[in-house]
Symmetry: C2
Subunit: 409 residues, 2 copies
């Protein structure tokens, strides 16, 4: 069997949310078999199963041991793989299911957020050679002492991409409850466009900035091994969006997505002496306290004094502000300003920085709509602005309309 | 740590039926730890979990693949072990849970009814040495290709006894929803007695004849390795019943239990030539067709012609009768009689055959109550009579009253 016929498919929790949906997934897999493919299928836990298991643990303790939590949660995927295998047998397709342990999805020992180190392909290849569909429990692995580990929420995407990598398979289909990656959240924007293609970097930037289609680690993995990810609906036959290397993209959009990120807070430390090591001291302290800093902007003012502004998750705001105050004198700062409730609106696109004036155009649109920009940060493929959270929705709509709805220009 | 301090405890599905009950089990384990024991705890799936998983499979297919069914069902115990470990942590007791795969409960590959071949004690001993309570998923193992297997309903009892055997631990506590082994079913008999002790053979005979307290294979295992089984309630502190070697019993009751077995049928083949090989031919045919034959009685009549009577499960009756008819001519039988609905009433006790007249006494009681005996079979420690199923309850009550309720004699 040539490797080129192997196809890795991943079905998320909604796609396998009931026994009827599992049957529908089985029929879809059957049609792949009939087209000559040898599917290796990764599945998540059924619908709300993981939440129900978490609830059981919460009835027992407020701070569950992480090893035992992984032992508990990994049962969810195990239920799905067995039911899907039965469902395939029922329609005449031979299939066999494997837990992470059985195919040795070896991870580090970081329970609840483990990283995959290797996967054994021996059992998978043997099963494929005897014309069996292989079904693998996503989200789970084992550390080198055979303890069960999990990869964190959304980790089944990463399981699927890792399998595609070890099986030398350059296409991985991610079946989900949306039919692709859109230029903006359809719940906010009226006419979002479905992208045919998007680069790994854009997808990563969009994930970081608030779009929750794919697990970031799965995209990093796909980028590293040059695996195309086809994000598509498990309820329709339409093609979805292919996440792929930038250089192979047919069409490079100026902007491929607009996002807003809420639940962020901003802190500004003013008038600190502009000397080396100030920023390092500040952000090392945040890191040590496990506070994730999103945007950072530093500006130099008069008299060699600088201001540093940065954003953190709203849930970390109180602690971050307290830490800044403990550093205030040491930094020689005159003032600390903070705003608990801000939004980050961002435009992401590989075509952006080869085109002139995108940033200027974006600032212009915000000004036209009476939206004040409090912070600006740019990367190779994105522009982000901190604005008042009450303006988030209108900012998103206005930017999307200008850049991505050509007929309305 | 001396082996003598290790104690194996098994908690059944009702005992761990909710998170509150799991917490209660954790407290009971804690009290064993405080008494100086090192518990190795085997648990079943929570309450109705197994039934719910079976229902999911039934929604998919009428004839689930047995490997996949074991994959599915084994998740039930895995949920319980993790929750119980968390529950112990919550009350300050260190604990670690293991699946059958993790401690290499090696079985044959007979899915859904696998037999344990060996268990690795390495991880268990290491955990006990670091003062951790060890929690093991009952009912499950792996075959030598790492496929997950299950031991059949009630298999957690066998897991517990097998663990006691490999850990050289001569006491295994079986916590359940009854507080011991009774002389008769309390739902039928008004004043059943709780036995302090019972021998392995009596327990096996009672199980075979209808009492469903322990998984037979667990009793056979316990007998082979001379492990005392303490059957007791997980809801009370009272001592229960100890299943033990006959020679170590303090008190040998004339009769330790009376049972009735319903849902049985009787077939009699009359007037067959009494020559070697007749019975073999008949019962080999039943065995080949997976029909379990319970009682067999052969009697020789006039002219060297014999009759063979036997009982089968009612669900096998139609097929068994058909098989007998295909053999009728070959056997040279003149007549086949069948009765679809009979009951077997039995008295079991190690003291029985060293005492005179028990059998006669039992027949007398049945006659006194106007109950006709259609077949009699005796073993070293038991007497069984086939009677009409409508008489089952009154037969049980009468025999129990005579032999086991002395004050009412």
């Amino acid at each position: 069997m040539a490797d080129s016929k192997i196809i890795v498919q991943k079905y998320g929790g909604t796609s396998v949310g009931s026994t009827d949906r599992i049957k529908a997934v089985a029929r879809r897999i059957k049609s792949s078999v009939e087209k000559g493919y040898s599917p290796v299928v990764v599945v998540s836990a059924m619908g709300k199963t993981t939440d129900e298991l978490v609830k059981l643990a919460e009835e027992i303790t407020k701070s569950p041991n992480r090893r035992e939590m992984d032992m508990l949660l990994s049962t969810g995927e195990q239920v799905t793989i067995s039911l899907l295998a039965m469902s395939l047998h029922e329609i005449g397709i031979d299939a066999v299911s494997f837990t992470g342990s059985q195919i040795k999805v070896l991870t580090d020992g970081n329970f609840s957020n483990a990283k995959i180190q290797s996967i054994s392909t021996e059992k998978i290849r043997k099963s494929l050679e005897s014309n069996k569909v292989v079904i693998v429990a996503g989200f789970q692995g084992v550390d080198d002492d055979e303890n069960i580990t999990t990869l964190g929420r959304g980790g089944s995407d990463t399981s699927a991409v890792a399998l595609a990598a070890v099986l030398n398979c350059n296409m991985c289909e991610i079946y989900t409850d949306v039919d692709g990656v859109y230029t903006a959240d359809p719940r906010v924007v009226e006419r979002p466009l479905k992208l045919k293609e998007i680069s790994y970097d854009e997808m990563l930037e969009l994930s970081r900035l608030g779009a929750a289609v794919l697990h970031s680690r799965s995209v990093e993995f796909a980028k590293k091994y040059k695996i195309n990810l086809h994000v598509r609906s498990s309820f329709k036959d339409d093609k979805g969006t292919i996440v792929m290397p930038r250089e192979e993209m047919m069409e490079k959009l100026l902007i491929s997505g607009v996002t807003t990120k809420l639940d962020e807070s901003k802190i500004t430390i003013r008038d600190i002496p502009d000397r080396p090591g100030i920023a390092a001291k500040l952000f090392e302290l945040m890191g040590k306290n496990k506070i994730y800093v999103n945007m950072i902007v530093q500006s130099t003012g008069h008299d060699n004094r600088a201001s540093i502004s940065f954003t953190v998750k709203k849930s970390d705001f109180d602690e971050a502000l307290k830490l800044c105050n403990t550093l205030k004198d040491e930094l020689g700062a005159t003032e600390i300003n903070a705003k608990e409730d801000i939004a980050i609106v961002s435009a992401v696109g590989v075509g952006m920085l080869s085109a002139y004036g995108v940033a200027g155009n974006m600032f212009h649109i915000l000004a036209q709509n009476g939206i004040n920009i409090e912070m600006i940060s740019t990367s190779e493929i994105g522009i982000s602005c901190v604005i008042d959270s009450k303006d988030a929705e209108s900012a998103l709509k206005a930017i999307h309309k200008t850049f991505l709805e050509p007929e309305s220009k």
